[in-house]
């Protein structure tokens, strides 16, 4: 009875003018269209952050070299520039692929397929968050970078070290402008190394390592944190929709597995943002 009357009403509105309702603008459902516009506004938010990063970076004479800053790898490996973030990128890309597969299975009305591919997507999201947690932990706990203190500085002159730090730098090592360094903490005290400038107008002057631009730490934690929060909320929504699929909620819905499509849009957007975070923070 009920379904017959709905069908009747649907037929009726189809005959009316464009303003009578019942027609989908852009042939997309309300939910999907609004997801697109939400993502557009979110894209502007992220762009604002990344453009602020660019403006502040351009306003500084020096900036930490990313392949020096991001060169640790789990298991005590050092000097593996960009390797770990490449792994993170691959995890997120792979989870985007599994999401596409879930949406395709949804079109096929294959409940089992949707649930399996969505579970894989959730695993990917959690793996990415785990990697980010490890990266943050290394930066904060191991290298003592915080929102306010950035121990990654960059040389602006040519010189020679007058002491070593017991890690990578030895006494007598030389450096050129543009090379980054990390100021270590010994016994909870900052231990900037002394060096002598060997070229230019300051030749012969003894100096010690200075902290890098403060904005670097704040921007890094804020922007990757904001992205990570998107991943986290994405995982939560994926879980809800995966459970709904598993219980068969979408089997009887008129629009079928459209919720899977909508969360899919969001999830790909998170991947899309990572492409640009990866570009700005790690590649450039």
């Amino acid at each position: 009875m009920a379904s017959a009357s709905i069908e009747h009403a649907h037929e009726h509105t189809q005959q009316g003018s464009a303003w009578a309702g019942g027609k989908e603008p852009f042939k997309a459902s309300y939910g999907k269209l609004m997801m697109w516009y939400f993502l557009l506004s979110d894209a502007f938010t992220f762009s604002g952050f990344l453009i602020a990063y660019g403006a502040l970076r351009f306003s500084m004479p020096t900036w930490p070299v990313p392949d020096f800053v991001f060169s640790t790898f789990p298991g005590g490996f050092h000097h593996k520039p960009l390797l770990f973030v490449t792994v993170m990128t691959f995890i997120l890309l792979a989870s985007s692929f599994t999401m596409v597969r879930a949406v395709q299975e949804g079109h096929q009305e294959n409940k089992r397929g949707v649930v399996i591919w969505m579970l894989l997507t959730i695993v990917g999201g959690l793996a990415f968050l785990g990697c980010q947690a490890w990266e943050w932990n290394t930066l904060i706990g191991g290298e003592h970078m915080t929102v306010k203190v950035n121990p990654f500085g960059t040389h602006t002159e040519t010189g020679v070290y007058l002491e070593g730090d017991g890690h990578d730098v030895k006494k007598g090592d030389t450096f050129q402008p543009g090379m980054s360094y990390l100021i270590h903490k010994h016994d909870n005290e900052w231990a900037p190394l002394k060096y002598k400038v060997t070229e230019g107008p300051n030749a012969g002057v003894e100096k010690s390592q200075a902290f890098g631009p403060k904005a670097f730490g704040a921007l890094f934690f804020f922007i990757t944190g904001f992205h990570g929060f998107h991943v986290l909320s994405g995982v939560a929504f994926l879980l809800i929709i995966c459970l709904n699929s598993a219980t068969g909620l979408y089997v009887n819905r008129k629009n079928g597995y459209e919720m899977v499509e909508k969360i899919g849009l969001y999830w790909h957007f998170v991947d899309l943002v990572w492409v640009f975070v990866f570009l700005c923070f790690y590649l450039l």
Partner: protein
């Protein structure tokens, strides 16, 4: 809605993810090559590596939006309402980077400038 069959869309998804993976590996290797990590003493000017990275990232963004998010199969009106506003960002990027550069160049003219790199005080 796409008019593709299930098998066709599966093939497209597999192809797209492979292209994305290859581009990412290439980006990382090119960045490391440009900075002299791979071949001793070999460097590529920063503006070349940077330009290549930006172009490749836009290609990746295109693939994600058009294939994964199915923008390719939406009606032109939807595509325009979503993509045209992002063109505003082009000016935002140019303006703010120019502004940042101006701050950097104005450093010498500021009376009490905040030092770019601060001394360590324990």
């Amino acid at each position: 809605m796409s008019h593709l069959t299930y098998d066709q869309s599966k093939t497209i998804a597999t192809k797209t993810i492979l292209i994305l993976a290859v581009i990412t590996v290439f980006e990382v290797l090119f960045a490391l090559l440009g900075k002299g990590y791979l071949v001793e003493g070999f460097h590529i000017p920063h503006w070349i590596t940077g330009g290549v990275m930006i172009v490749l990232s836009i290609v990746k963004a295109y693939l994600i939006v058009y294939e994964f998010m199915h923008m390719k199969y939406e009606v032109p009106g939807l595509v325009k309402t979503v993509l045209l506003p992002t063109l505003l960002l082009v000016w935002a990027i140019i303006a703010f980077l120019a502004e940042g550069d101006y701050w950097n160049n104005s450093r010498a003219r500021v009376k009490n400038p905040v030092p770019a790199q601060t001394e360590v005080n324990n």
